[in-house]
Structure formats: C-alpha cells, structure tokens
Symmetry: C2
Subunit: 185 residues, 2 copies
C-alpha cells in the first residue's frame, strides 16, 4: 500500500517558516540526495495555496541543472490538490470532500509512495486525521524563535517510532518516524 | 575554560514539559550513559524553583542502584542557584545579581564543565544573554502539541553548528550544537 510521507524542513524549535514567512534558513545540500526521495514517490498532495505557489513552478535560467532535474521530476508526478473548491486543471485532480476516504482510495492504488507537500493547514488536517504514515523531518541547525509551527492545534499526544536518521554536512539532521500504533502503547 | 552545557529532554515539537507539567514522556535508557555526562561536569546551575524541587532530591528505597549512583554524582557537584533573593544554604551558592559577570568568573575557574539544569526561566535568561556554550538536546519521539517551549521569547534568531548526534534504542536522538559565532556567519 502507498504511504503518505510528510517530508519537510523544520527549525530546531519546530517552525516550518519564520514569523514573516522566511524560509531563507532552509538548506538543500548535495549530500541530501533529494532526488532519491523524489524517485521514491509517484504522487504529491498539495493544499490549494501551496499548489498555486509551487504546483507548476518553473525554475528560471539561473537555476542549476540539478535543481532543474528535481523540478522536472516533481512535475512528472500525479498531483492532487485539497481545496474547498474544485477547479478545472489538466495537471491536477482536486479533492474537495471526504478527505479520509479519498486518501484511503489513493493509497490502495499500486505504485510508489505519496509526498504530503503542505502547506500547514493541510498538514494539520492530515496529522489530526491520522493520515500520515511517515514523518521525515529535516531538523535545521537554527532556532527561529517564532513563526509557523509544524505541529499546531494537535488534538492529542502523538507517539512516534524512530525509523532512521541521516546527518548532513550542513548540520541538518533528518529524523524519520512512523506513528506508533495505539495497540502498541 | 569551563563550558556551560544545556542538557535537556525535549519533545519533537520543542516542549520541555507538557501543558500540565507532564514529564512522563521522558525516557532514561541505559544506553544513554548519563553517568558519562555527569562525570564531565563539576558544577550545576539551577533556577530557584528547580533547586528547591531537585537540588537536594533523595531517591527513595525503590530507586535502582544506577539511579542512586546518579543522584550521588549530582549531589557531589558544586551548585549555584540563580534567584532574585539570596538564602543561607551550605550546599549551594546563591547568585542574585550580575549574572553574566558571575557566570564569566565561574567559567574562568579550572575544572570540568557546567550543567545548566534549568528551569525554563533560567534557560531563557542564559540563551538571550548568549551564556550557553553547548546545547545538548535529547529529542524524544513524541509530539506533545502544547506545553512549555524550550525556546521562548527569543530575542533573535540563533544559528547553531551541529557537533554530534547520538541515537538511542528508545528512539531518542541526542543533538549537540554550539552557537555559531557571529564572525563566522
């Protein structure tokens, strides 16, 4: 079954962006092998705002070849946009109702995993609905002090199981978890 | 020169205790070798409330031998209590004014490092005064959702350099950082 993977950069104090939306602290190092992650998925879930901002992003001519290839890889995926309103879009399928049921149906399809891209509201919905199978957080060596927290309005404590860690030259530490099953508590 | 080391358990979302003061999520595993850390320090800095709660804590008869030895080790250290009011205490020295100057003087003394024990207010003062040399955070595999944040009312962004990581059986990941020097930015 496909897994829903949240793969996200966070500051050491748990913010996904600064108080003014800053993401200038996010590091993308060669040794992160982000392309390996991109190869492991065939589907991307976007919130509507994130899709409008990044769903069809085209890097400009100053972009490195590696980053161009990354964007080509991203744009080759099957895209779903979670939104209150549907929209005609030949490059994405809109989901407006019955999120848990639709996600469950998509997970039953054969293929690779699903990247839960964000933004914050969609992530919150997925966390609180128990729809995330893997949390892959790249903890950055910076404390922002304020901003948009990854975990917000959590309905209950979330127990996790550490699956893997990777350490990068930049000091970013990638922590990969799965939710602990309630029966195992 | 002695270093001031903040060594603390945090949840993945950056809380040092839950909304009702819960610390039941804190794991102390054998493989953490906490006694090695205790051996690396000869001084402990407490806030007044933390000192009253833990500064002279005596484990009861049900406590494991390993934990008794840990407490003996802790109580053999040179203790300083940061408080607005001084107090007579033959087991600790009270510091009520000129924190930065007094800390600087203690750091000049020969010997091992200093454990900044907490609580939250003292940690906040030390962070914002740039008095912490090493951040050693044991990131626990749990998201609390609310509670007392480690980093609160930070005056400015804090850039760190990753020094070390340790991964424990329990899924706790210890991340050790030093503050990045402004001249290196």
């Amino acid at each position: 079954m496909k897994k829903v993977v949240l793969n996200l950069a966070v500051s050491l104090d748990g913010f996904i962006e600064g108080a003014n939306g800053e993401v200038d602290w996010c590091i993308m190092d060669d040794d992160m092998n982000f392309e390996t992650f991109i190869e492991s998925i065939d589907t991307i879930f976007y919130g509507r705002v994130s899709y409008d901002a990044w769903g069809n992003f085209e890097p400009d001519e100053n972009t490195s070849p590696a980053e161009r290839i990354m964007w080509q890889g991203i744009h080759a995926k099957n895209k779903f946009v979670f939104s209150s309103q549907s929209r005609q879009d030949e490059k994405a399928t809109y989901i407006t109702t019955d999120i848990a049921k639709k996600v469950s149906e998509i997970k039953q399809q054969k293929g690779k995993d699903i990247w839960l891209y964000g933004g914050a509201n969609l992530i919150k919905t997925f966390i609180n609905s128990g729809l995330i199978d893997v949390y892959k957080l790249s903890v950055h060596p910076v404390v922002l002090g304020s901003g948009k927290p990854l975990f917000e309005d959590l309905k209950q404590r979330l127990n996790l199981r550490l699956l893997n860690t990777r350490i990068f030259r930049s000091g970013v530490v990638e922590l990969t978890y799965e939710p602990e099953q309630i029966t195992n508590r």
